[in-house]
């Protein structure tokens, strides 16, 4: 009977860890706020419970430092987990910042957040200054929930629960360095471009006036030539001597200008070039004859 009772109890005991799943948790947790220069005794300490969050809100001032001590336990045994954090969650944006607890093999862990005006005192663990808190925490209007997160390999349930609320107060004269908003690429505002107007021709009347002025210059020129005695009297002599070449030469020059006019109005280049070539050949041949006749008359002194 004793034997069987011992057997049953040992079976029960050995089966107990298998029967229920172990869960990570912590014990002997205290959060303390210490003002700078206040010494060891001036800290305000609060005990934290793994199951219920702290009722009052912990306040961290500009020159204060927050220190968290706890002992992590897996089930009933104090052990070192793989990860242990103190996580602050911004209530409005959901932004989380985690501070790593340095945990010894015995399970004892601590982390401290130091205020902005004190510097590192040479402690082994990480000391974050208030300026290491993201600026969203420094400007949070509501209390920031602080939770402990403990996780490890193995089958034990990890721990993640809120343990206290944190209020961060800044010194009034401490400037807050909010970094610039990061560069984000998004469509620009729509551009309503108004194209420059096409250039317009000038008023027709001015064009007509100037065209008339240019056209009027031509009879003036002809009149001037007539005044100078435009050698019209030579025409009969020239035509008498070599009528064909003179007529062809003069006619081919007129025809060339006519080809240019047709090119301007309707023809394209491939129609113009053969015509111009033909007229040019005629002009060359007739011109050489006509001009040699003129030369004879000039050398004879008749011009």
């Amino acid at each position: 009977m004793k034997f069987s009772f011992g057997l049953v109890s040992s079976l029960l005991l050995s089966g107990a860890p298998i029967a229920y799943a172990a869960a990570w948790s912590f014990e002997d947790a205290t959060v303390s706020i210490a003002s700078k220069g206040a010494g060891v005794g001036g800290a305000s300490k609060d005990k934290l419970s793994a199951t219920t969050p702290l009722a009052k809100t912990v306040s961290l001032g500009a020159t204060d430092s927050l220190k968290l001590d706890l002992t992590t336990v897996d089930g009933k045994t104090a052990k070192r987990p793989h990860q242990a954090f103190l996580t602050l969650t911004d209530p409005t944006s959901g932004l989380e910042e985690s501070f790593v607890l340095s945990v010894k093999d015995s399970g004892k862990g601590k982390v401290s957040l130091v205020g902005i005006t004190s510097n590192c005192t040479g402690t082994i663990n990480n000391s974050q200054t208030q300026k290491d808190l993201p600026h969203q925490f420094l400007t949070a209007s509501k209390p920031i929930p602080a939770s402990i997160v403990i996780g490890a390999f193995g089958s034990s349930t990890p721990y993640k629960h809120k343990v206290f609320d944190l209020t961060v107060t800044r010194g009034a004269n401490v400037p807050l360095a909010i970094p610039e908003a990061p560069l984000r690429y998004a469509p620009e505002a729509e551009i309503h471009h108004i194209f420059r107007e096409d250039p317009k021709s000038p008023p027709k009347i001015i064009t007509i006036v100037f065209a008339a002025a240019v056209a009027a210059a031509l009879p003036i020129l002809l009149g001037l030539w007539a005044t100078l005695g435009a050698n019209v009297s030579h025409l009969s002599k020239a035509l008498g001597a070599a009528p064909v070449s003179h007529a062809l030469f003069y006619g081919s020059i007129i025809a060339m200008e006519g080809v240019f006019f047709l090119y301007y109005t309707s023809w394209n280049l491939f129609q113009t070039l053969p015509a111009a070539g033909l007229v040019g050949v005629v002009a060359f041949l007739s011109g050489s004859r006509a001009l040699s006749e003129v030369q004879e008359r000039r050398l004879a002194g008749l011009r």
Binding site: F210, G287, S288
Partner: protein
């Protein structure tokens, strides 16, 4: 436009040097100009004067086009360029014809007869007209 007077080169034409044409009252600019004009009318040959009047006509037409552009702007630009360069190019061709056919320059252009110069002038003018018509497009 009064031609440039040449003082060198013995000419068959009785081209007296410019210094002999000093008017009596040298201080009067008006008299100087009048003297230049009289000398021009007397001494230049009739054919040269025909060319000179043509060059004057080209200057007037070019000035009219330029004045038009100054007044109303140069749209379309290629039309202005075409017309203006036609005037300028024709002026240059006429000036070269004048140089080559001026009796006072006979010593410089022995090898080129007047008719050859005229033929070159016609050829150059036709080319110029073709390119200007092309450029007006």
């Amino acid at each position: 436009m009064p031609p440039k007077q040449r003082t060198a080169a013995p000419q068959t034409v009785p081209g007296t040097p410019y210094s002999a044409a000093k008017p009596k009252s040298a201080n009067d600019a008006q008299d100087i100009l009048q003297g230049v004009w009289n000398r021009y009318v007397e001494k230049t040959t009739q054919r040269t004067k025909l060319l000179d009047s043509f060059m004057l006509f080209l200057v007037v037409v070019g000035a009219l086009q330029f004045l038009y552009v100054v007044l109303v702007g140069n749209f379309p630009f290629n039309a202005f360029l075409s017309g203006f360069s036609a005037c300028v190019g024709q002026f240059v061709l006429t000036a070269s014809l004048r140089i080559q056919t001026n009796p006072e320059n006979k010593a410089d252009f022995e090898s080129i007869s007047h008719e050859r110069a005229f033929a070159d002038f016609v050829f150059g003018s036709l080319l110029l007209h073709f390119f200007c018509v092309n450029f007006i497009n």
